[in-house]
Symmetry: D3
Subunit: 290 residues, 6 copies
């Protein structure tokens, strides 16, 4: 007997109580176990839901209302604290179920490693999958401190799985020299510093393709998203990130799922990081779920 | 499809997944709508659950382990934001159901007004109910700013319902003159400033009685519980409050339910208020649920 | 015997002690009683005054010095805590007095509802009044949770009073569908997302008109003004808002009063929200009081 | 035209509007210019007033109500920022006026140096003045970093002025070796670590004497008063400090004035330091003003 | 060319520049890599040094002055971030060197695991070593989440090394059932909840023995030390902990080294945790180094 | 015996242990003694080093790696707390030594006054020195509150020393009228509000000149650098400031030294101010040290 009805504090605004009828499912992945510098993203999903109460259900950007999208907030996956391996398995199993039932998965991290099992499942269903990746960091390491399961490695794993030529990274402004070399030599598409302009150029070439979009909140400048583990100066504004979401919404892409990761509320007493993330959730639901 | 399994972040430690078999049920009441000075207790239940991860499941005070108590964390009741009247109704309905199924209700506030519908249901089941009330404030107003549904009124309502002679308040150090006069004249039992000593004196007289215990976290000194709406200097220590819980645990009382209210995490960046509250929850489960 | 002399902590820099000789009067409206999500704007005026000590009295934007404007900081109107109705009356009475004595009223909120009684008085004096409204939110609701006196309703009330065709809103990026529909159908002028460009277009048409300007600090992006009750991502920068003030300063408008509202310092430990608000106060005094 | 009426935000609760009829006057001294380690006490008085709204006007300790004391909150003395010498002069002038008009002065600091000009004026009026000083620190230096006007020197100055044998310090737990030597050799009365027990012993000997009481909030343990410039572990609880105030209230002393200093709110996001200080103000008004 | 002179910000007050002549050496161990719940103690040593500037060099408790102790602050051992194994080795090597040169090692953590290599070296030098351990937690696990190198295991390791009958734990109020069973059955000395009284009883039996003292700051109640990884309600006051240090100072023990661990400043914006820790450092230097 | 090896917490990433072989030397100047409004920049250098751990050693902007620059982090100069005059002397002596040994000095403040002794030494070595100054404030006062050694005066002193025609200020948006008049009349080059565009125009004229660059972090908008003593709205973004550094890196200038000042971490719980400052340090090392 856990409460299932929509509630402002624990459930994202306008969530539908009925899972079966829903087109999209919002779910949290409260995991930050591989992060040693500034952990805390395991509280991201809960805090994003909390501040959603301050949002309207209508978007003046898209002229759409959340009542036009039948989505269900499933809460957080009950990941075992400290156990990264089992947590990734559980995320994979959950997403596999969603995909089987033709739901649009919209995940909230948690650290960026949570995207890895999701994309594995996505790829099983969509063999011609492409990835749009917005981030400050390359996340292309093969391992971190000797550990292949790290928040610094997920995009490299994805490249290995689906082919680097199917991976498009935007807004990147930090990484090891070797990571940038890999990007340059492997054929993946890495756009430094900016998001909107390169995205405009890329979108036509992806028309009709199934695309999964993973957004690390630190693609934003620290001024707009201070609550994250590895804030990196020189990023984009929230206006630009909203514009990127709307560009994709207006494109020919077949967006088949998405996630927003690395919101770590403890570093942001103003709550603005979760506030912008909540708005991104709404715009993605309204713009990408069709 | 909300997740039901125990999870460190969203569910109190050692919660049993199965509601039906449980002896006790933990539930949250995220309501702070009648508080204008320093609101924020609607986030209390969620934050108490979060920090429970830092607790052990075993109590060296009671030499008992949470596996010896079959309890279920039901999450937060989905109270409608801003609607105090409907929220109180929903709390009453939920507690009525628990009582019908012979569960021990352990509620987490939220503002103190949430205790009012609980005690109404308790009284229906236990006509000889007594109340133990630990608080810095009398909460004996008839109304607050013209409003009878206020966080300053619940104990007065309780006195009117079950008779002031059945109400025992401890640790009180703030109130209007009229409230203290009411206490003195009505026959209720109000003990100023201290908890442990007067409690020792009172407990024998309540032996065998069904007793509901309501703990406003501000009975603690602000040094031990800064995260509350109306902190009041001159309170007791957390050692003393633990001792009070253990005194009750070792008494002949028939404790039939309890709540902990007014944890408002925003005023306490150190999280110590929710940390002490989580420990109280554990000790109550281990000491009072039999 | 309250102290009347200018003091850095309690009075805005360069305030003149003599009310009678002053051209403009700065006053605070410490009211946030209709706000339930994140209250705290009742502390806005006091905190804006405090940080004014960090400002220079000279503006390199306008090449003017506060000694060229004879203004008086009257402190906060002593609004009764929790009583919204009486508070609005007191604000109206105070502004009526200022207008009778030909002072330029510059008000500091408090929640946005405080603008409503001000504009009522303004309209009595200036029947051809126009309103410039900079805000993230439409504020066009007819009621909020059944309550017509709400921080979500003031601009709708203004439209009803002075005619929607005389109301110009800028920077709007949040509201209910019905509010945007009302804006579109009623003839009011609502400019989404941006401020500077639409303002440039509008200003010539208002030449010579008496105009009251109300600035909700949340028109700024949360990165520039995190200390506000309902921060909304995707806003303008402080550079743009300063530019808007300077555009009006350089226009043919007859600005007859202004307010800055919704500064809620508790959400911004960096104090940058009150810091930008204090600078806006200075630029308004230097640019609009003539 | 500054507002004179009692207002919850800017004026301490229950302040009477009429200065002339008042018995006691509350006033702030927003000065922290000689503090280099952790300044910020210039915001103490304003913050103490703000939180007074959370207090009741009735004391269950003394069974008295603020309506039984006719007192007036005069606001903050407009001290010139950065100018310690002139600030001390202004404090002296203000207190001289209060004493001339037979008011009980209750001052709020600001740093401890503000007590110096007050006590100078007190001594002019009461040549047999004694001082009760509650503090963590001796404050007996002759100078600090070569500067005789320092927050570390006021009690030494007082000893020189009125004679060390008339100075009683309680709760002291920090100072230079030379300061403790001075205390031991000069004949002043310095009680280390504790307040309540030595005070009980001292009070009879001061019966009938005019006594000024200066309370540095850091006499409290940092757990009870973290918001102060030089917090010092090992202090007393707020219960003990309240008890000390009540002991004095019940004694034969002729308390002729008092101050509470060194509340520096920036170090205490929980606001508990100003909360305890506000309660001390109420208890002093109710217990010492006769 | 690193600066070697005493400086208020980077070096503890009154540190002597000359290592060779020093009797005692203060050193930091900035390691928190095995902590997943609330890390951050790697910043403890630096913050303790910073606030030492607010301390006097003289202790009125012991009537001694730091100039009477020739000690040297060696800064932090440059532990490799994220590498617990190598870090422990480096700590061991450093302490071995200190012991060889007959210095009294006073270590600042960092997580509690840092005590393990220190005690290994101590035991090599002093085969009849006894341990005094003040802590909220037993720290007697054999492993934590499958990992033998954890902040929950150091005291168990110590028991295995030097024999449980030589280990004395005080103030313990949290642990697994198995840990308390181990304590009861193994012959180690575990005193629950309190420190001062059991310590008084134990000290005579340790007269003349070489004793190493390890203090986990969380032995203090969270009200006195909120800045720690696993705060546990119901602890002792800073007055009691100071008393414990002075009891040892006045005893016949041969204290041969000490550490203070688990200060995690991020959870304590008031800085009171590092403030009390800095005072403990001073009292230990003055009372235990002979 | 202070530790000399590179360590993540106390030493900037990738610092070389060997001073003698180093081309550049990073050093801190922990001084904020002349600042009365919001002090705290004495903690800037330590906090910038701490967060450097979150940076990569490679710059994708410049395609260079810190291993290509042999630099040494010398720690903080041990400035005597509260003694501004002696502190400035010590800074001068230290920089003189660096210049004698042909090191590139990269200083971290501390308040802006620390640049004054540096530039004096620079001018002795480079008689044709030019200054690039990025700041929100003119810093051109002759004195501040009667004190010539103030954080508001360093650039005026520099103008007097090397001639105003050799001083180039960018991003200025605050100052006294007299300061702007001085700038206009003296022949110095003051560019208001912007940095990038005027810098592009100026750089060619400085080709081949020895240039010292002093960056006050408050040239950034408070949204990007809230942690500073006198935040001033309307500033540039971190993207623009990075671009300015890269413009200089790609120019014909002979940069002979630099500093970054006024990082005051206490006002920025998000740490973003030190995070951007640490990135500036890396880019300066990679771009300007040749």
């Amino acid at each position: 007997m856990r409460f299932d009805e929509a509630y402002s504090g624990n459930i994202f605004i306008a969530s539908q109580q009925d899972y079966k009828e829903s087109q999209a499912v919002l779910y949290g992945m409260p995991m930050d176990f591989t992060v040693s510098f500034r952990p805390g993203s395991r509280f991201g999903p809960a805090r994003i839901r909390e501040v959603s109460l301050g949002l309207e259900e209508y978007s003046p950007y898209l002229d759409r209302h959340l009542e036009q999208v039948n989505y269900h907030d499933a809460g957080d996956i009950p990941l075992p604290f400290g156990n990264a391996g089992r947590s990734l398995e559980m995320i994979g199993e959950f997403v596999a179920k969603l995909l089987q039932e033709n739901k649009f998965p919209l995940g909230l991290g948690g650290e960026h490693l949570v995207s890895w099992p999701i994309i594995q499942e996505m790829y099983k269903k969509y063999p011609d999958l492409a990835i749009i990746h917005m981030d400050a960091h390359t996340d292309l390491r093969e391992e971190y401190e000797g550990e292949p399961l790290s928040h610094s490695t997920p995009i490299r794993k994805v490249c290995n799985l689906i082919g680097p030529q199917n991976v498009y990274s935007f807004g990147i402004r930090s990484g090891m020299r070797e990571e940038f070399q890999y990007a340059a030599e492997s054929g993946m598409h890495l756009y430094k510093f900016d998001v909107v302009e390169p995205l405009k150029n890329v979108l036509p070439s992806l028309a009709g393709r199934p695309v999964y979009v993973t957004i690390d909140i630190d693609v934003l400048d620290p001024s707009a998203a201070p609550g994250t583990g590895t804030a990196e100066a020189g990023g984009i504004t929230s206006k630009e990130l909203l514009q990127a979401i709307h560009l994709i919404a207006g494109s020919e892409l077949n967006v088949v799922g998405a996630d927003i990761v690395e919101v770590a509320p403890a570093y942001d007493p103003s709550e603005q990081t979760q506030i912008v993330a909540a708005k991104l959730v709404r715009e993605i639901l309204l713009g990408w779920v069709k």
